[in-house]
Amino acid sequence: MEQKKNWTDAFTSLDRRYIFVLVALAVIIPLLAGLKGSVNISPSVRSVYDYINDLKPGDSVMIVLDYDPASEAELYPMTLALYRHCLDRQLHILSFTMWPNGAALTERAFDKMKLEYKPKGIDIVSGVDYVNFGYQVGGALVIIAAGQDLRNAMPTDYRGNSTGSMPILDGINSLRDINYVIDLAAGSTIDWWVAYGVQRYHFVLGAGCTAVSATQYYPYLNTGQINGLIGGLKGAAEYEQLAGHPERGLAGMTAQSSVHALIALMVIVANAFYFMSGKKR
């Protein structure tokens, strides 16, 4: 009996380094194997995709990158999937960030798009096909300012060019004139967009966020304050699958699957040993 207690105790208080090794292997092996599976498409991701897909060439989509490199693994694939879809549909992309460290990520994403689309004979030109307004200081005030007068709120782009005469902004005076706005957020900016943007200026808003914060935004989805929600890497993978560009999101799904399964298994095993050790009593 004592011997049984010893080995169950040993398992319940397993050295954390063994767990770290297991998690590392669960991530590395599927990524090295290069497996890309398919994912179930959730209704909230499909609504974002469908809305963009139904826009006409030349319509404008504002994609706001409210995150920094800490959330890059989840939100950057989402950003690229949205950019690719918009470029495939010949939509104009307007981007900015309210996170200081996100400005360079936005520029990097556009640089990547230029590299990807140039061999296809498509030149993506700043001020014509897209505009990166860079970092905008002021938090929620940026949304109010852009809702009042977009050019006045963002007089120059990331490279310091005046936005006043940019062809991409022809016919766009404020957020009301933009066909679709999507906030990709690692923090609480989706709340700001709903409260200070949608409720005040009445445009259609979609959202993307990290998996851990997705549950926070279901009430907005239910009330129609956001028309769709892309949650975490899984959401990015769903969007990549819908848009026909399988990239980092889908590649990461196998790694995420194995880690989730591993953690679930570890919790079940740890509880089994916990009950066997008799501590419950």
Partner: protein, 238 residues
Amino acid sequence: MQLLRKHLPIAVAFVMGVVMFFQFYVPTRFSSNFLQGVTQWDRIIAGFALLLGIYSLLNHHYHKLRRLVPGWGFSVVVYVGFFAMMLSGFIWGINNPPPETVRDMTGVILGQKQTQVPFMWIYDYVFVPMQATMFSILAFYIASAAYRAFRARTKEATVLLITAIIVMLGRVPIGALLIPFKPFHGDVELLPWFTEWILNNPSMAAQRGIMIGIGLGIIATSLRIIFGIERTYMGGGD
């Protein structure tokens, strides 16, 4: 001194609070222009807050360096990182040049090449991996903590544990493979379906309650600030 430190900020907060409250309900051109002006003012002030933050960061680490407190080496890293990024941005700019077309000897296009300015190179190959690494370490700690602490000790903990396992598996493709049964003759497997149900019903109900609570709290705090009852924003904990 009392006037500047106490009465004036309270008066400004009261006047602006009341004016901005009524502005929301007055749909005139003057009201709209006023909002635009105030927003610009606020954004300029927020910009200065960034400068204050930079000063505060450098000052904090300067004192650590001057006293050579344990861990002062990290303060050196802060200074090196700060000035390396700032100077590389000032000297070589922060914008990459447009991609160049790479051709072979016969002029056939081989592909595209992106040259990077030092600022973007440091950002891409130092800053991004470091921040991503810091965040990804969480996965290891969460796994370890789940193994050690997630126990079905009570009924409530058991419900939480079962829900967590269902959502964890239902949010990834393996959940659909584990139980391929599709409930209610639908096209979604059991675990993803149940996960969506949890997120759309009990979880959303709880979130809604929290949001309403936060909203009421914001209104109460705003009124306290406008009427000068809440003064902690002026410092001093009064």
